[in-house]
Symmetry: C2
Subunit: 428 residues, 2 copies
Amino acid sequence: MPSEVAAKSFEPAPSPAAPHHIRLTSHTGGHGAIPIHWAAATATERGPVVGTTTKRSHRNVIGTHSGSYSIYRALAVASGALKASHKADLTNTAPTNVIGPYPQWSEPGRIVAMDPWGATVADVFANELAAGYDIRPTIAVTQAHVILPEVIEALQSGRLKADGRFLTAGGAAMVTKVAVEPVWFLPEVAKRFGCTEADLRRVLFEETGGMYPELVTRSDLEVFLPPIGGLTAYIFGNPRDLANPDIELTARVHDECNGSDVFGSDICTCRPYLTHAIEECIQGAQRGGVGLVSYFRKEGRALGEVTKFLVYNARKRQIGGDTADQYFARTECVAGVQDMRFQELMPDVLNWLGIRKIHRLVSMSNMKYDAITRAGIEVVQRINIPEGLIPADAQVEMDAKMAAGYFTPGAVPDAAELKKAKGRGLDA
Amino acid sequence: MPSEVAAKSFEPAPSPAAPHHIRLTSHTGGHGAIPIHWAAATATERGPVVGTTTKRSHRNVIGTHSGSYSIYRALAVASGALKASHKADLTNTAPTNVIGPYPQWSEPGRIVAMDPWGATVADVFANELAAGYDIRPTIAVTQAHVILPEVIEALQSGRLKADGRFLTAGGAAMVTKVAVEPVWFLPEVAKRFGCTEADLRRVLFEETGGMYPELVTRSDLEVFLPPIGGLTAYIFGNPRDLANPDIELTARVHDECNGSDVFGSDICTCRPYLTHAIEECIQGAQRGGVGLVSYFRKEGRALGEVTKFLVYNARKRQIGGDTADQYFARTECVAGVQDMRFQELMPDVLNWLGIRKIHRLVSMSNMKYDAITRAGIEVVQRINIPEGLIPADAQVEMDAKMAAGYFTPGAVPDAAELKKAKGRGLDA
């Protein structure tokens, strides 16, 4: 069944390392690959995730490391800048802070979209590394000082006070930050989406236009490294305190919105809500608690920015203007769904961090709230965005979301309110 | 050669739309697909890019739309939230501003990594859409108000003045913004990287762990929609003025850095340089010129954020501390290269916008400068980041880059200077 073809229609490849045959799909029964026992109690029993392209027989997953950036790695090899055989030298790269292990790491079905042992591969898989396996971290933990103009403004206006420990007089907040690449255990990911594993594999293959035939040919490979963005967790205070339900935890789970998060577009509340959450996290840490902002790479509701801008135009040009009652409909016309973010996999990072209780959840999203509580994490209180932080042009989104079930401590807009055009036209 | 397999090891799929057989790779000689003649003079002669998954026989590319987000589309289908047959309703989504066509669109080799006709598919391919082809925009153009705290600060301190046209008294800058998905014409992309097309295709397949066998089986398909992030162009002033070399153009080409661009990490100059560029663009527009910031999704030098954080740790833990003379070496140890951003494809968007001359390039990168001038675009002056905007911990990066050939109007640091530990340790 596995086919081999020579790329005969091309001129001979000049690269000295060029193989003469290209295997279109791998097959079972190779030797040297270490089995993965997902959710096993220890790293050794679990086994390492090996997505290397340097020694193919060692691979025990579908896909490869660094998500989308494997395409850039390919460009580096194609241009001669990188040897295909390069292995990462992990000297001095170990996490700055110990995270776990926590009981959640081996509870079945609790963590299905990241590798709990991904930060400590150099340590827990030292034997396998010494034996020549090219094992790469899928998580990195470091420390940083972050300086946001909104935090400086809060210092100046007295809403925040510098303490030299969590926040300096210059406005730098001290954080531990964690980058996480997606590692999907397909049988359990399928369960989260209510479909069979076979369906998930087939649809992943077909709806991407034929990416990774191994999704359908290699049912023995149960782990997939999808070429999508991951997440970054910013921790304010001691990361160990996240796992202590007696210590007050302020948390926001934020989905990327480049247009607002970086450029400050006034059509939505993304950056204002994010910086408000950071302010809440700093205050929480200063009260003896701990704060967490988890940033997920899901641009434009995971539809991407082209679709997002198409929807903006459709909203602002429709008859009757930009109204809350048509807010979700416009996305659905273009994209077929209102939202593709799917919060089903989001709580994994919370469970990885050992979280059992969120005292203050800085989010109004019912989808996020539902996903977190379904994942076995208690939520005590929800914090809405303060009125004064909502840009005028973002009121359409706010109204539409509150009417659709988003949390609000105030009044939910009625049908008449939703029909009012509150968004600017395109010429304004 | 094209293989068909049934996914026999799984239970029967319950979805009514489930096909019984899964084709692992397509084959040439299908009918219905419209040929693509890259760089043809008109849209009709060029032909549409069809990456649909709804009607396979119409496809004339490798890969599919929305880059990485096709994975989320697959989740939407797998969960039953989206019908696989959904076609986008493009009503009212057309660009808010006309871009081109410009002569560069059909100059051979000028634009190889995006579809110049990608914004206007509903217009230029109206006949093909009417005939049932599912053609999707790969570019979207809209208008926005962007409000950055740094711009408000510049207004308050008098560096910027509101004019109600380019900048409001409330600090909102008026922009046209353009989201662009990558569309690669493989024969010319290979040329940019100095390799054969066959090598590029093979390496793209192998270094991604076997993504898209069609890269090696379908040499007749010359266009690839890679699952990577694209770019967003923010235009300050009239987009048409970009193509007029007599009108002063201020421009920055910025590579994503989430840790600084969103969270304000002080280890680099990314956000300060970006907001300085926006300030320069607004001033330029107010002087009768036009401004452009193009934002490329290439996190962590296109190595991804996990690698980036590993490198941070290695830099700050090495013997001798965080010094400029080891700055690039630490990335090379972990990643095998100093940088994977490859500016070779970057100038395409500039050529797409009709740009022939950049009067003020807000960048110190020699790689970007070289790529732009090699692409036939004149650069008159380079604008460095003002000293006062460089965070203390970012001086290591600045020194290392200037020593490596980055533009500076000041002194280039010498060997002794490069050996001084200027970055903070991890405990500080």
